[in-house]
C-alpha cells in the first residue's frame, strides 16, 4: 500500500501486504492496528539503533504506549492538513505517511534523512507531508499551527493545522496564548495533548492541580475533550468530530491519556517511578488492545497478524540498515541553509583565520 494512503485515512485502504490480510472493509481497525504496529516497531528499532551506537546521540524519545494518539488522530486528517509535533513525535510523523528509511537516517544524522542530518529526531520535518516540524522546546511548535490556521483561512485552503504536544506543554504559557488566538479568530486549528503522565521525570499530578486538561481549553472557548488512549477507535472517533469541526472554523482540543512505557530518553531508567507502577501502566497497551480486538471480533486471524507483524519488522529492519549505511553529511554543508540559497552565507572560521593570520 502506498504510504500516502496511510496518511490520508484509515477508511480507504485495506490492510496491505500479506495475502492473508483481513478483508473487512467496514472496520478501520485493521488499518489503525497496522499504523500502530509500524510505530511500535519503528520505535523499538530506534532503541536498537541507539544500542548499536549508530544513532546521533541519546536524545531519542520513544512514543511506545502512545500509538493510539498518533494513529487515531492522523487517521482523520487530510492530505492538505499541516501539523507540528513535540520531541516525542516519531509515531505521529509515521502515521502521517513518513518513510521509515528517511526517518531513521535522520535520527542517525545522515545525509539521506529528511533534514540531511541537521534536524535529527527532535527537529524532523517534511513540507510535502505537511509536517511543519518537530520541536525540542516544550510547547515551541504550538503557535506555528495558529499561523498555519491563519494562512489556511486567508487562502481558503480547507486545511486544518494540528499541534501535537505532551502534558509537559500544558504548563507552558505559549499554549494559552495560542489557544486564545485560535479561538478568538475562529481558526481551523486543533491542539492535541498526548498525556503520557510524565514531563521528563515529573508526573502530571506533581506539575498541576488541574489534571482534567480539556477544561482549560473549554475556558478559552475551544471545543475541548479528553479521551482514553487505550482504544484507538475511540480516539479516532473523538478526533473525527473535533477535526471536522475545526475545518469548519471551530478550533478544538483533545487530551489523549496514555502511559509512557519507557524512560524520558534513552539514558533514563525512570528511577522516579516504581516498578509496580510501570507494570500497571504498561497494561494500558493500545497495540495489544487493538490486536486482541481484531482477533475477538474476527477481523483478523492470529496467523495473518503474525505475518503482518513480521513484514513490518522487516520493513523497520531495513530502515535501520538504510540508516547505518547512509552517508554522513559533508562538512561543507554546515554553512548551507542558515540563509536561503543565493543569500550571503556565514564565512567559515578557518577561512577567516587564514586570511587574518596571513597578513602578519
Amino acid at each position: 500500500m502506498s504510504l500516502k494512503h496511510t496518511a490520508d485515512s484509515g477508511a480507504t485502504t485495506p490492510m496491505g501486504g500479506s495475502g492473508q490480510a483481513p478483508k473487512d472493509h467496514n472496520s478501520a481497525l485493521p488499518d489503525l492496528y497496522r499504523t500502530m504496529r509500524r510505530i511500535r516497531s519503528f520505535e523499538e528499532r530506534v532503541g536498537e539503533l541507539f544500542v548499536r551506537g549508530e544513532s546521533a546521540g541519546s536524545m531519542l524519545h520513544l512514543s511506545i504506549g502512545e500509538e493510539a494518539a498518533a494513529a487515531g488522530i492522523c487517521a482523520v486528517m487530510k492530505l492538505q492538513d499541516t501539523f507540528t509535533t513535540h520531541h516525542r513525535g516519531h509515531g505521529i510523523f509515521l502515521a502521517r505517511g513518513a518513510e521509515p528509511r528517511r526517518m531513521m537516517a535522520e535520527i542517525a544524522g545522515k545525509m539521506d534523512g529528511y533534514c540531511h542530518g541537521k534536524g535529527g529526531s527532535m527537529h524532523i520535518a517534511d513540507m510535502q507531508l505537511g509536517h511543519l516540524g518537530a520541536n525540542a522546546i516544550v510547547g515551541g511548535g504550538i503557535p506555528a499551527v495558529v499561523g498555519a490556521g491563519l494562512s489556511a483561512k486567508r487562502k481558503k485552503r480547507d486545511s486544518v493545522s494540528v499541534a501535537f504536544f505532551g502534558d509537559g506543554a500544558m504548563q507552558q504559557g505559549i499554549l494559552y496564548e495560542s489557544m486564545n488566538m485560535a479561538a478568538l479568530w475562529d481558526l481551523p486549528v486543533v491542539f492535541v495533548c498526548i498525556n503520557n503522565q510524565y514531563g521528563m521525570g515529573t508526573r502530571i499530578d506533581q506539575a498541576t492541580r488541574a489534571t482534567n486538561l480539556h477544561e482549560r481549553a473549554l475556558a478559552f472557548g475551544l471545543n475541548g475533550h479528553s479521551v482514553d488512549g487505550l482504544d484507538v477507535e475511540e480516539v479516532r472517533n473523538r478526533a473525527r468530530s473535533i477535526v471536522d469541526e475545526a475545518r469548519g472554523g471551530r478550533p478544538g482540543f483533545l487530551a489523549v491519556s496514555c502511559y509512557r512505557f519507557y524512560g524520558h530518553a534513552r539514558m533514563d531508567k525512570s528511577p522516579y517511578r516504581s516498578e509496580e507502577e510501570e507494570i500497571e501502566g504498561r497494561k494500558k497497551d493500545p497495540v495489544k488492545f487493538a490486536r486482541d480486538r481484531l482477533i475477538s471480533e474476527k477481523l483478523a486471524g492470529e496467523n495473518a497478524l503474525g505475518t503482518l507483524d513480521g513484514e513490518i519488522g522487516k520493513e523497520m529492519d531495513d530502515a535501520i540498515d538504510f540508516a547505518v549505511s547512509a552517508q554522513a553529511p559533508s562538512l561543507g554543508s554546515m554553512f548551507r541553509d542558515v540563509y536561503a540559497e543565493g543569500e550571503p552565507e556565514p564565512e567559515p572560521l578557518k577561512i577567516r583565520l587564514d586570511r587574518v593570520l596571513a597578513r602578519n
Binding site: T82, T84, G113, Y114, C115, H116, G117, K118, G119, H123, A125, D126, M127, L132, G133, N135, I137, G140, G141, I142, P143, A144, V145, V146, G147, A148, G149, L150, S151, A152, R154, K155, S161, G173, I174, E177, S178, N180, M181, L184, W185, R336, D337, V338, Y339, A340, E341, E343, P344, P346, R355, V356, R359, N360
Partner: protein, 325 residues
C-alpha cells in the same frame, strides 16, 4: 524631493508593499484600530481591513510564533513587537524557531517574515522600554538585522526586508520617528547589505548605525571645526554586515571608533571593534575605541538616561583624543 518623517516613510513602505503583495499581513498589538503605539500603521486598517491588519491580544511570544507559522505556509507576515524589550518574552519563537527552521529542516523551508520593533533611549521610558538589544539578534545566526538611521533608509530597508526569503528583525529607533528629511524615495537606494559613508574625512573612522549616526554626524561636524575630519560609516544592516567598507576606510585612515547605543560588554561594539582589530591590525595606529552604552539598566531620570548612552560630546571627545594621541 518631499519632506517626510521616519514614521511616514515606514508607513509608506508597509502600505506600498501590502498593495503589491496580498500575502503581507501585519500582526501585533494595537497595529490595526489603534494605528500602532508610535503611529506607524495609522489608518492602514481603513485600506486593508482587520483581516490584514491583525490586532492581537497582549501575547508577545504568540505574535512571533503565529507569524512563524504563517510565514511557513504562504503568508509574508510583518509581526510587530511594540518594544524590543519584549524580546525577553518572544525570544524562543524568534531565536529557537524563526532563526533555525531553515537550517534544522535541511533547507526545506524558510521563514519569510519581518519582525518590526523599536528600541533605544530618549523618552524616559525606563529600563524595560529603552534598551538596545540588537546584539541579541546579531548573535543569532539565521536572522537578518536592519537598523535604519535615515528617513530614506526607513523606507528602502523595510521595502527590501519584505522581499527577503529569511526572517528579518527590523529595529527602528523610538527617538527617530519624528525626524524629518527631504527625500526622493524614487531615487535609487544603496543595495541591501551595503554600508553608507555619510561623511568623508582622512583623520578618523566612526562606525555606527541607527540614532547614533545623528550624534556621530553632529560630533563629526564639531570635530571638523577643530580641524579633525572624520569618515562616518552608517552600517544600515548589521546582518548582513558590510565589513568591506569598514576595512577599506580603516586601512586608509588607521584610526577607528565604534559607536553603539547598546551596552558595552559583549555587544555590537565589541564585535565590530574586535573584527577591526583582527582584520586591520597592521593598519591601526591606535586601539579601536568602543563608545557604547554603560553597563547599566536605563534609568527613567532624563539626566541618568542621557548619560548612560553615547552622545555628541562623548563621541567628539573620544574622536579628538584618538587623533591627537
Amino acid at each position: 524631493m518631499v519632506s517626510m518623517t521616519y514614521r511616514d516613510a515606514l508607513r509608506r513602505a508597509i502600505d506600498e508593499a501590502m498593495a503589491e503583495d496580498d500575502d503581507i499581513v501585519v500582526i501585533g498589538e494595537e497595529v490595526g484600530r489603534y494605528g500602532g503605539a508610535y503611529g506607524v500603521t495609522k489608518d492602514l486598517i481603513k485600506t486593508y481591513g482587520p483581516e490584514r491588519m491583525i490586532d492581537t491580544p497582549i501575547s508577545e511570544p504568540g505574535i512571533v510564533g503565529v507569524a512563524v507559522g504563517a510565514a511557513m505556509t504562504g503568508l509574508r507576515p510583518i509581526a510587530e513587537l511594540m518594544y524590543i524589550d519584549f524580546l525577553g518574552m518572544s525570544m524562543d519563537q524568534l531565536a529557537n524557531q524563526a532563526a533555525k527552521i531553515r537550517y534544522m529542516f535541511g533547507g526545506q523551508i524558510g521563514v519569510p517574515m519581518v519582525l518590526r520593533t523599536q528600541g533605544g533611549t530618549g523618552r524616559s521610558a525606563g529600563a524595560q522600554h529603552s534598551q538596545s538589544l540588537e546584539g541579541w539578534i546579531m548573535h543569532t545566526p539565521g536572522l537578518r538585522l536592519a537598523m535604519p538611521a535615515t528617513v530614506a533608509d526607513a523606507y528602502h530597508l523595510l521595502r527590501h526586508s519584505l522581499t527577503l526569503p529569511d526572517p528579518v528583525v527590523f529595529i527602528e529607533h523610538k527617538a527617530l520617528y519624528a525626524q524629518k528629511e527631504e527625500v526622493d524615495l524614487d531615487a535609487p537606494a544603496l543595495p541591501w547589505g551595503k554600508a553608507a559613508i555619510r561623511r568623508r574625512g582622512d583623520d578618523l573612522v566612526i562606525v555606527t548605525y541607527s540614532r547614533q549616526l545623528r550624534f556621530a554626524m553632529e560630533a563629526a561636524g564639531q570635530l571638523a571645526e577643530r580641524g579633525v575630519e572624520a569618515t562616518v560609516i552608517d552600517l544600515r544592516t548589521l546582518n548582513p554586515l558590510d565589513f568591506d567598507t569598514i576595512r577599506m576606510e580603516v586601512e586608509r585612515i588607521g584610526k577607528a571608533m565604534v559607536v553603539c547605543e547598546g551596552v558595552l560588554t559583549a555587544g555590537v561594539a565589541a564585535e565590530l571593534a574586535s573584527r577591526i582589530t583582527e582584520e586591520c591590525f597592521d593598519f591601526l595606529e591606535q586601539p579601536v575605541a568602543r563608545v557604547a552604552g554603560e553597563d547599566v539598566p536605563i534609568a527613567v531620570s532624563p539626566a541618568l538616561e542621557a548619560a548612560s548612552v553615547p552622545g555628541v560630546d562623548l563621541i567628539r571627545d573620544v574622536g579628538e583624543r584618538l587623533v591627537r594621541w
